[in-house]
């Protein structure tokens, strides 16, 4: 019984790390730039397929793809920012949201054209192995994915906290006008921020693909998870996002232990609704400030 609980907790923490990393990019882009990147999960999905293709064609291990994905998706993010987001920032909010929604559907459709709607998995050498840590049985793949996620979260946290560029990004989120007065080029910095958000989505997608089956049209589910983490953790704060990810992961494994897996999604919605009601003030305040 105790072992069981310990396993549930360990599993929940590992999953939570992965959810946290799925949410970080979304949270930062929303918090700093005020853009609701509905297409975030579409890039998570692309990240999974990035790892899938590298593994299938070149036998590159997902662990390596995780690091490769970051610069590749950063470039993708910069291109998307230049082509689309600069316009979205100028458009009325509703219009911008429709455009982001269009982007999500576009990426998903392109994904379906390239890979069909079949469900895929990445089966690396360690995928079906487990390791016994004390009394707890842990899947190797979750350990690896969780460790990678933690690494990226710490890197992001340190970047935003300790580098001047990171602080400038936070400053831009807190007072865009004042940021311009000290000489920050908010366009250039927003490009970097959005690039980092998508880079984060790409790498997070690799870890998601290591652990979960995926297909182009299941990305909306991931959006739900990422969004839940963001709502729970608040905007633009990496440490809180991490905490929120862990909570969501623990709730998921906790619920899944007692109910059929599908019901996890129902719990998810109920949680979402409750949090939205409870956190109303905080959230509208935040959006107010940033949008």
């Amino acid at each position: 019984m105790l072992n069981q609980i310990a396993t549930i907790i360990a599993d929940g923490i590992l999953l939570g790390l992965i959810y946290a990393i799925a949410g970080v990019g979304l949270s930062l882009v929303l918090g700093v730039m005020g853009i609701v990147n509905v297409a975030h999960s579409a890039f998570l999905m692309l990240g999974s397929f990035f790892a899938f293709e590298l593994f299938r064609r070149l036998a590159i291990d997902p662990t390596i793809s995780f690091f490769l994905a970051f610069p590749v998706f950063f470039a993708v993010g910069v291109i998307v920012y230049r082509m689309l987001i600069t316009r979205v920032e100028l458009a009325p909010q509703t219009q911008g949201l429709v455009a982001m929604f269009g982007l999500m559907v576009l990426v998903e459709s392109l994904g379906t054209i390239a890979w069909t709607t079949d469900t895929r998995v990445i089966t690396a050498a360690y995928t079906n192995r487990s390791i016994l840590v004390g009394p707890i049985m842990l899947a190797n793949v979750k350990l690896i994915a969780g460790a990678l996620a933690l690494l990226l979260i710490i890197a992001f946290w340190a970047f935003l906290r300790y580098t001047l560029t990171g602080r400038a990004i936070r400053a831009m989120g807190q007072n865009r006008f004042a940021a311009m007065t000290v000489g920050i080029n908010v366009q250039a910095l927003s490009t970097i921020m959005f690039g980092l958000g998508i880079a984060c989505a790409g790498s997070a997608g690799v870890t998601l693909g290591m652990v979960f089956p995926f297909s182009p049209n299941t990305q909306i589910l991931w959006l739900a998870w990422a969004f839940l983490v963001v709502i729970l953790g608040g905007l633009g704060n990496v440490a809180n996002t991490l905490l929120a990810g862990l909570v969501v992961g623990l709730i998921q494994t906790g619920v899944a232990a007692f109910l059929p897996f599908d019901y996890v999604y129902l719990v998810l919605y109920v949680m979402l609704a409750v949090i939205l009601v409870v956190r109303r003030e905080g959230l509208s305040g935040a959006v107010h400030r940033w949008i």
Binding site: L164, R167, A171, Q174, N175, A178, M180, T181, V182, G183
Partner: protein
């Protein structure tokens, strides 16, 4: 810290937010180095719009913003600090969730390629405003209004700008703190900087002014040196502005 500052010149500027509906309808003024030049005017006269034009947030439809003779009117806002122009915005403008140190450091964003120089410049600010030193690790949003204003001024000065655009510096501050802010503006002028001050507090602004312009409906109205405004003219303007 003596500074050799250039003259700022606004020549016949026409500008607004919608084409064909200008808020500034031909403004001319000069701000001399080592002087405090004050801009007064009723609400809606275009004072804040003028600062936005000078700092590049708004491109004029016509006319020029000249610094030491060269036109800046197409320069984007973030490049102004590199030309030695700094803006102290109206109201609170600290980065509320960053520490005092981080706030001041970001004032030196334009010299980020030379970290040693940046560190020295930040250190100079703590030397200049020693009361900020014990607060350096506090989150700026948690400070009092006066302390925040000090952080904002320090942040503005890190890059050692020679032209200062100041928008309503005393709004929302207690009289004592407001007085200190005006004294600091005088000190900055005495260092040789060009100070352009937009203010609603007519009395306080005229008291430190070297030269005063009054804008009305987006145009130059009257102007003169402090002496002219401290006499009857001052009373007239005050009555007219409803102060």
């Amino acid at each position: 810290m003596p500074v050799s500052a250039p003259r700022l010149e606004i020549a016949n500027v026409i500008a607004g937010y919608t084409p064909g509906h200008p808020i500034l309808r031909g403004v001319n003024l000069k701000a001399e180095p080592g002087h405090i030049t004050v801009i007064l005017g009723p609400n809606g006269a275009g004072k804040s719009t003028l600062l936005k034009v000078i700092f590049g947030f708004l491109t004029p439809e016509h006319g020029a913003v000249r610094l030491a003779g060269s036109d800046l009117s197409n320069l984007p806002p973030h490049q102004h600090i590199e030309h030695g122009i700094a803006l102290l915005p109206q109201g609170r403008s600290v980065f509320p969730e960053l520490s005092v140190l981080e706030n001041i450091e970001l004032g030196g964003w334009s010299m980020r390629s030379d970290r040693k120089r940046l560190r020295e410049a930040v250190e100079a600010m703590f030397a200049r405003y020693p009361h900020l030193r014990p607060l350096q690790h506090r989150v700026a949003g948690s400070l009092s209004g006066g302390q925040q204003r000090a952080v904002e001024i320090a942040r503005m000065l890190v890059a050692n700008p020679s032209v200062l655009l100041i928008d309503e510096p005393s709004a929302g501050l207690s009289p004592i703190v407001a007085h200190q802010v005006y004294q600091e503006l005088v000190a900055l002028k005495d260092e040789g900087r060009t100070v352009l001050l937009v203010d609603q507090d007519v009395r306080a602004a005229i008291a430190i002014a070297d030269y005063v312009y009054v804008l009305n409906s987006g145009k130059n109205d009257i102007e003169g040196d402090r002496a002219a405004f401290e006499g009857d003219l001052g009373a007239m303007v005050r009555g007219w502005l409803g102060v």
